[in-house]
């Protein structure tokens, strides 16, 4: 038994290996089904988990409390004591504006809150002290700020920024994210342009606010629960409830506190007023005193003046006496003066005489000295003359000597001449002798010469005979030569004598010349000597006459000196007389001086009296001036007082009024209110939750399709397998195996393939799909740090169980039929499916027109019904999924396109403050009227209203146009399906479609409107198309009727030509700056929001397309495989008949194409339904997605389906090629 079983087990594995393609296809389809089922279902919880993990990590608050009058430390303490409050932290927050390069941005400032709402620092660090700020990363990137930069903030309204913050400039120390903001959308604000563009976190000590703006708290046990889940909400709601319970009492305390504060301030103010009054009275009293003092002073002055008059009289008497004394004194002085004059004259006479005398004396002295000089000169001249005379004498003597010498020389010369003359004849004879002797000499000479020539001739003849002759001749010659020598000597003596004589003659001539020159010189010297002798004589005569004159002058001088001595004596006598006169005068002067001193003393006395008088007068004058001044002062003071007191009175009155106001305000002050909010108040937190819900809704629909297809694929595949194994089953049965033993193989086959596929699927599905989807949403929620994708036991088990059970059940069902047969039947081949006529053949006119192949195709299509339905389902599912995917995108886009393109066609709206003053409102309307950028405008009321019908209640916008006729320019009221225009009448209200469907209201019903405690029933006259928010439209008349007052138009709807971002930004800034404007909104803002939604949808659509493709591929491939294996014989026959490969493939493809076409058509119907279902499930209450799918989406879906189908057919073609013709010859198994 055991052994047999092992054989079967082994056979099982062999079977699996042999049919691995089939095994894999079941495995894959199950994988796909399970992956999608568990993956998409897990996506939503995984999204929540991911967010929850971030919230927990950053310790995001669970609840925040805000109070209309702020919150105090006591409130915090009180909240901390509440049960279930794990921690509570007070915080400040404020919306301010920040100056940027060209514009300004709204910055939401938040204080650091201890261990809660932790910021994630991406760069830099968290703020630690005053003046430091931490900004969100997006802001840093967008506006290019760096850490270390500073930003300057200012108040958005008219207030002072320093009322809120201690300083207005902060240094950026870090950047990152805050858990309050998952997405880049930072919400709205009431300042600036209304869009918060940055988040700033700073320490609490930067704020100068009087009370906290909020308290954040974390509920105990909430961290354990996953955010967004009911369990979490339960925990938080309990705590929220407890906080709400103490809210009233805390509010009362706060109220009392503020009242007490107010009272104190009022009483302080009153005390101040009382003080001011007292001060006023005091000032008055002082003034009166001053006036009295001045009157006293005036009396004193009058007394002083009288006294002064008396003294003035006394002084006049004294003055007269002094004048007399002065006269006497003047006379005396005059006498002295005349005497002095006389003395003065005498003295000047003496002085004159003296000076005359002195001049004479000087003349005498001068004369004497001139005389002496003349005498000296004379003496000198005399000496000079004597010297000249002596010189003359000497000259004369020298001349005489010279004369003598010359005379002597002349005598000598004469003697020498005489001697010479005597010698003369001798000399002449000598001379004669010389000539003779010379002649003799010459004869001798010539004789000598003859002799010599003879000798010569002889010698030359050389005759010895001649020698004798020669000797003779030579002897002769010798003698002649001796004669000649004697003659020569005698000649020389004579010549000497002659020469001596000639010398003596020459010397004598020279001597004679010298003597003549000396004689000449002597003659000249004689003339000179004679002239000098004459000069000396005249000089001697002049000296004698000068000496005479000198003696004469000496006599005259002596006489003058005697005269001068006599004059000096007379002068000395006169001088003595004058000195005695002077002594007398000095005595008289002394007498006068004493009289003068006496007079001066009395005059001094008088002057003193006068001075006293003057002083008195001055005093009086001063007193008068002072009095006048004081009087003036007093007058001024009085005036000032009058003025000041008037002011003070006004001030006091104002202060009193203020106090009255303050009191009124205090009395009017409403009991503060607490707003206890949970995370639902955090915009991005809520949006994220909604997105996860949307994914959940998709997860509820899509995977089911996959599952259904997977189950059907398994069923057909296993059925085919069992059919193929018919003979084997029969054999085993014949061998005696039990039903279950045989079935176990197939059940096991299905179980294992689905189990493996299922486990792989749930792993892949839950690990991959949620991450992909969360990351797709990451485009929106950039701050979400990580995507968690844990395995969910519930999804894993349910999907796996479903997959396994369905495939196994399908297999059991397939086995049942075969197992019911007896072995003999099983051994016989299964009768091939017989052909029969199809319905279409009865429609002759179509059928007859079909080609032969067309007919064959049609028959084949309907012959294998199971395959037909399976394929149509698979392809239909593919098309449907694609259509749904594209359709969802269309629908979301429709919100923007339809809502703002066809329904609400206005460009934007300006919202006024609720309490806008009339002037401001008028100014605003005037500006709008004159604004060229604005094409049309209309005031309207837009406010919140609750609409209820039956048990359902929804909050909606109530819109009341000021001019019903013009409403059509701003909002189009029409029926979505028919496009019929609806009128707004005074009969009732028009409500929007989604609201109507949520409340289950249709035209003609009466709904209840609730606004500000006013409840009213109104008739719904029409339901109109609308995609975003809910609206109730109402005419002013109906409003008045319902709410009992005329509507106050708080909005101005605008239609502009330009819808560009820049234009709108400018317009927004222009109007936000105006007083009384609380907001400017544009429809394009919402369009941006929708675009963000679309971005996240893109990935979802890609997932859907891939999924649809896989679905189509697996289904088609699997079914084609079955088809081919079932019809292998038929295909082989075709090949034997000579069908080309392409023709064989075509034979099959034609069927597939038809199946694809039919599948697509079915798919489109299915897709439209699925799309509608998904859209309705996915959409959130406040919006209605477009209900229709665009034609282009249909086209895309069909094209993609055909593409997938084509790919499968391509794969099939290769499979068909492999079919062996020989198969056709084999017997049927």
């Amino acid at each position: 038994m055991k052994k047999r079983r092992n054989v079967l087990v082994k056979e099982f594995f062999v079977e699996v290996w042999k049919t691995r393609n089939r095994f894999l296809s079941i495995l894959l389809i199950v994988l796909l089904g399970v992956a999608f089922f568990s993956g998409i279902r897990a996506a939503s919880p995984d999204m929540r988990l991911s967010a929850d993990s971030y919230y927990d990590d950053s310790r995001l608050m669970d609840i925040q409390v805000m109070g209309t009058l702020g919150l105090t430390e006591d409130d915090v303490e009180e909240i901390r004591t509440l049960e279930g409050v794990e921690e509570a932290e007070p915080a400040y927050s404020a919306d301010v504006l920040c100056r940027l390069e060209e514009t300004q941005a709204v910055v939401k400032l938040m204080s650091v809150t201890g261990e809660m709402n932790l910021i994630t620092v991406e760069e830099g660090r968290a703020p630690e002290k005053e003046g430091e700020i931490f900004m969100d990363s997006a802001f840093m990137d967008t506006y290019g700020y760096e850490i270390g930069d500073t930003i300057e903030v200012f108040a958005g309204d008219d207030g002072d920024i320093l009322d809120t913050l201690k300083q207005d400039t902060f240094t950026i120390v870090g950047c990152g994210t805050s858990p309050f903001y998952l997405s880049l959308d930072l919400g709205t604000s009431t300042v600036g342009n209304g869009n918060v563009e940055a988040i700033g976190v700073l320490t609490a000590d930067n704020f100068s606010l009087e009370a906290y703006t909020g308290i954040y708290l974390r509920a105990a046990g909430a961290e354990k629960e996953v955010a967004y889940t009911d369990a979490y909400m339960d925990v938080v709601d309990k705590v929220k409830h407890r906080v709400e319970e103490i809210a009233d009492s805390r509010c009362e305390v706060r109220y009392a506190e503020i009242q007490a504060d107010g009272e104190k301030q009022i009483s302080d103010g009153e005390a101040e007023i009382a003080d001011a009054r007292q001060e006023l009275l005091d000032a008055e009293a002082e003034l009166t005193d001053g006036e009295k003092q001045i009157a006293d002073a005036r009396q004193e002055l009058l007394d002083g003046e009288k006294e002064l008059e008396d003294s003035r009289k006394q002084i006049a008497d004294g003055e007269k006496q002094i004048a007399d004394g002065e006269k006497e004194l003047a006379d005396g002085e005059r006498q002295i003066a005349s005497n002095e004059k006389t003395i003065q004259d005498g003295r000047s006479q003496i002085a004159a005489g003296q000076s005359q005398l002195d001049a004479a004396q000087k003349q005498i002295t001068d004369g004497q000295s001139q005389l002496d000089a003349a005498k000296a000169e004379l003496a000198q001249q005399e000496q000079l003359l004597q010297n000249q005379a002596a010189e003359y004498e000497l000259g004369l003597k020298a001349w005489n000597d010279g004369d003598a010498q010359v005379s002597q020389g002349e005598q000598q010369t004469a003697a020498a001449e005489e001697q010479l003359n005597a010698q003369k004849p001798q000399i002449d004879a000598a001379r004669e002798m010389i000539v003779q002797q010379e002649q003799q000499l010459a004869a001798l000479e010539s004789m000598m010469q003859q002799l010599r020539d003879q000798i010569q001739e002889l010698e030359e003849a050389g005759d010895a005979a001649d020698q004798e002759l020669i000797a003779q001749i030579k002897e002769q010659l010798g003698r002649v030569e001796e004669q000649s020598a004697q003659l020569q000597t005698a000649l020389t003596q004579i010549r000497e004598q002659v020469a001596q004589y000639d010398e003596a003659v020459a010397a004598l001539a020279a001597q004679k010349e010298q003597l003549a020159a000396a004689r000449e010189e002597l003659t000249q010297q004689k003339a000179q000597l004679d002239a000098a002798g004459e000069l000396i004589r005249t000089g001697q005569e002049q000296l004698a006459s000068a000496r005479q004159t000198l003696v004469q002058k000496q006599q005259e001088l002596d006489a003058a000196a005697a005269q001068a001595a006599a004059s000096r004596r007379t002068l000395n006598e006169k001088s003595a007389q004058l000195a005695s006169g002077e002594q007398q005068l000095a005595a008289a002067k002394r007498e006068l001086e004493s009289g003068r001193t006496e007079l001066a003393a009395s005059r001094q006395k008088l002057a003193d009296g006068k001075q006293q008088l003057a002083d008195g007068e001055q005093e009086i004058a001063d007193g008068k001036a002072e009095l006048a001044e004081k009087e003036q002062e007093l007058i001024d003071a009085r005036a000032e007082f009058d003025e000041k007191s008037a002011d003070a009175e006004t001030e006091i009155a104002d202060a009193e009024a203020e106090i009255a106001d303050a009191r009124k305000e205090l009395d009017d002050m409403e009991m503060p209110e607490w707003y206890v909010l949970d995370r639902e108040s955090i915009q991005s937190c809520v949006e994220y939750g909604q997105d996860s819900e949307r994914i959940e809704a998709i997860g509820n629909v899509f995977p089911l399709i996959f599952f259904l297809v997977a189950a059907l694929v398994c069923l057909t595949t296993m059925t085919r397998m069992v059919e193929e194994k018919r003979t084997e089953i029969g054999t085993l049965k014949a061998l005696g195996y039990g039903k279950w033993q045989i079935a176990a193989k197939y059940i096991g086959y299905a179980f294992f393939s689905s189990c493996i596929g299922g486990i792989a699927g749930l792993l892949i599905g839950q690990k991959v799909l949620p991450v992909v989807i969360i990351q797709a949403y990451g485009i929106l929620y950039v701050n979400l740090p990580e995507a968690l994708s844990p395995l969910h036991l519930s999804y894993s088990l349910t999907s796996l169980a479903m997959a396994v059970v369905i495939t196994t059940l399908a297999t059991i069902a397939a086995c049942r039929r075969e197992l019911a047969l007896v072995p003999a039947q099983l051994m016989r081949p299964q009768a091939p499916k017989s052909g029969k006529r199809i319905l279409l053949e009865r429609v002759g006119f179509i059928w007859n027109r079909l080609s032969f192949t067309g007919k064959a195709t049609m028959r084949n299509l309907f012959r294998y019904k199971k395959r037909f339905f399976m394929t149509v389902l698979g392809i239909g599912g593919c098309t449907g999924l694609l259509l749904t995917g594209f359709g969802i995108k269309d629908s979301i886009m429709a919100i923007g396109e339809l809502q703002f393109g066809e329904i609400r066609v206005y460009s934007g709206a300006v919202t006024m403050d609720e309490d806008i003053s009339e002037e401001n409102e008028e100014a605003l309307l005037r500006t709008v009227e004159n604004d060229r950028d604005i094409k049309e405008w209309m005031p309207a009321k837009e406010s919140s209203v609750d609409v209820s019908f039956g048990d359902e209640e929804r909050s909606s916008y109530l819109m009341v146009p000021s001019d019903v006729e013009k409403l059509g320019d701003y909002v189009i009221l029409q029926d979505r399906r028919t496009g019929e225009k609806k009128e707004l009448t005074d009969d009732g209200v028009v409500i929007t479609e989604k609201l109507a469907s949520l409340l289950d209201v249709s035209a003609g019903d009466t709904v209840t409107l609730t606004s500000d405690d006013v409840e009213a029933e109104v008739l719904v006259t029409a339901v109109v198309e609308n995609y975003f928010y809910h609206y109730v439209y109402m005419t002013p008349a109906v409003y008045e009727q319902v709410f009992g007052e005329a509507p106050k138009y708080s909005e101005i709807f605008l239609v502009n030509d330009d819808n560009s971002e820049a234009f709108e930004k400018e317009l927004r800034e222009k109007y936000m700056d105006m007083d009384g404007v609380s907001g400017v909104s544009f429809t394009s803002d919402v369009a941006g929001y929708i675009n963000d939604m679309l971005k996240s949808m893109d990935t979802v659509i890609v997932i859907i397309v891939i999924a649809a493709g896989m679905l189509a591929f697996i289904v088609l491939y699997n079914l084609n495989n079955i088809n081919i294996s079932e019809r292998q014989r038929e295909l082989a026959t075709l090949k034997v008949l000579g069908f080309y490969e392409l023709e064989v493939s075509e034979y099959m493809f034609r069927e597939n194409i038809w199946l694809t076409v039919i599948g697509s058509i079915v798919g489109m119907v299915f897709g439209v339904i699925l799309h509608l279902f998904v859209i309705k499930t996915v959409e959130i209450d406040i919006m209605m997605f477009g209900r229709s799918v665009k034609p282009v989406s249909f086209a895309y879906s069909i094209l993609l389906t055909f593409l997938f189908s084509f790919l499968v057919n391509l794969a099939m073609h290769f499979k068909l090629k492999k079919i062996n013709m020989v198969e056709s010859l084999k017997s049927v198994e």
């Binding site: 009768a831 091939p832 499916k833 017989s834 052909g835 029969k836 032969f852 007919k855 064959a856 028959r859 084949n860 012959r863 014989r1129 038929e1130 082989a1132 026959t1133 075709l1134 090949k1135 034997v1136 008949l1137 000579g1138 069908f1139 080309y1140 490969e1141 023709e1143 013709m1221 020989v1222 056709s1224 010859l1225 017997s1227 049927v1228």
Partner: protein, 237 residues
């Protein structure tokens, strides 16, 4: 190379299959010839290589070596596509299990073949010729075995082939029906002057053939010409 009146000539044809490490010589140096218009019967025991010969003749399989002359053309070197054309235009095939397309009526099954060849005969005429004039619109499932085989023969004839190959045409039929089918084939041969090759393990039908080819172990053991073939009716087995 076509000799006078010769339709088929196989020269030293071999076909070798590799089954794992074992080499099987299904046909091992086989040579034979069949004249045009002859009714040839190939007989031999199971595994002798009859079917292989038929496959090679029918262009469903190609010989490993040797020459296969069909109407003067050597098809042994044909490519897959040429073989398909050959099957399409020159060969009519009758299977043991008829191999009719169940989803098509008798007439449509014939049309299936006639619509693809060059010179088809009229489908209805052929069906009438094989005696199925009133069963034309019936589906195979509505026909008896003999009738189905007639449809198969009609389908083969409609292509107007040069060669009609029949693989155990009576194998799945009862005695009388089988006889009737053989009669139909013999008549066709005679009337249309068509070359018919019948493969069978039943040597009893040999006397009705013009040529009897005995095959054993992949070779022609004996080939005899029967100058006086007898009518089917006279044969008993």
């Amino acid at each position: 190379m076509k000799e006078n009146g010769e339709m088929v000539r196989l020269v030293d044809v071999r076909k070798t299959y590799h089954m794992g490490e074992v080499v099987i010589h299904a046909v091992d140096g086989l040579s034979l010839e069949i004249k045009e218009g002859e009714f040839a019967v190939v007989v031999g025991p199971s595994g002798a290589g009859k079917t292989t010969v038929l496959n090679i003749l029918g262009g469903m399989d190609s010989a490993t070596s040797g020459e296969v002359w069909i109407d003067g053309v050597d098809i042994s070197k044909f490519k897959e596509k040429q073989l398909t054309s050959y099957r399409r235009n020159d060969i009519g095939f009758v299977f043991q299990f008829y191999n009719l397309v169940q989803n098509l009526t008798a007439k449509e099954n014939v049309e299936l073949a006639s619509q693809i060849c060059r010179d088809p005969m009229d489908a209805e005429q052929v069906l009438r010729d094989v005696g199925l004039g009133d069963r034309m619109d019936n589906f195979p499932a509505q026909l008896s075995g003999g009738e189905q085989q007639r449809v198969a023969i009609a389908r083969a004839l409609a292509k107007n082939p040069k060669l009609l190959l029949c693989d155990e045409p009576t194998g799945a039929l009862d005695y009388n029906t089988g006889k009737a089918i053989l009669k139909l084939l013999q008549d066709t041969c005679r009337e249309h002057h068509m070359t018919v090759v019948v493969i069978t393990h039943n040597s009893a039908i040999a006397p009705m053939a013009d040529r009897i080819i005995h095959i054993k172990n992949g070779r022609v053991s004996r080939m005899e010409e029967n100058p006086h073939p007898v009518s089917v009716e006279t044969i008993e087995w």
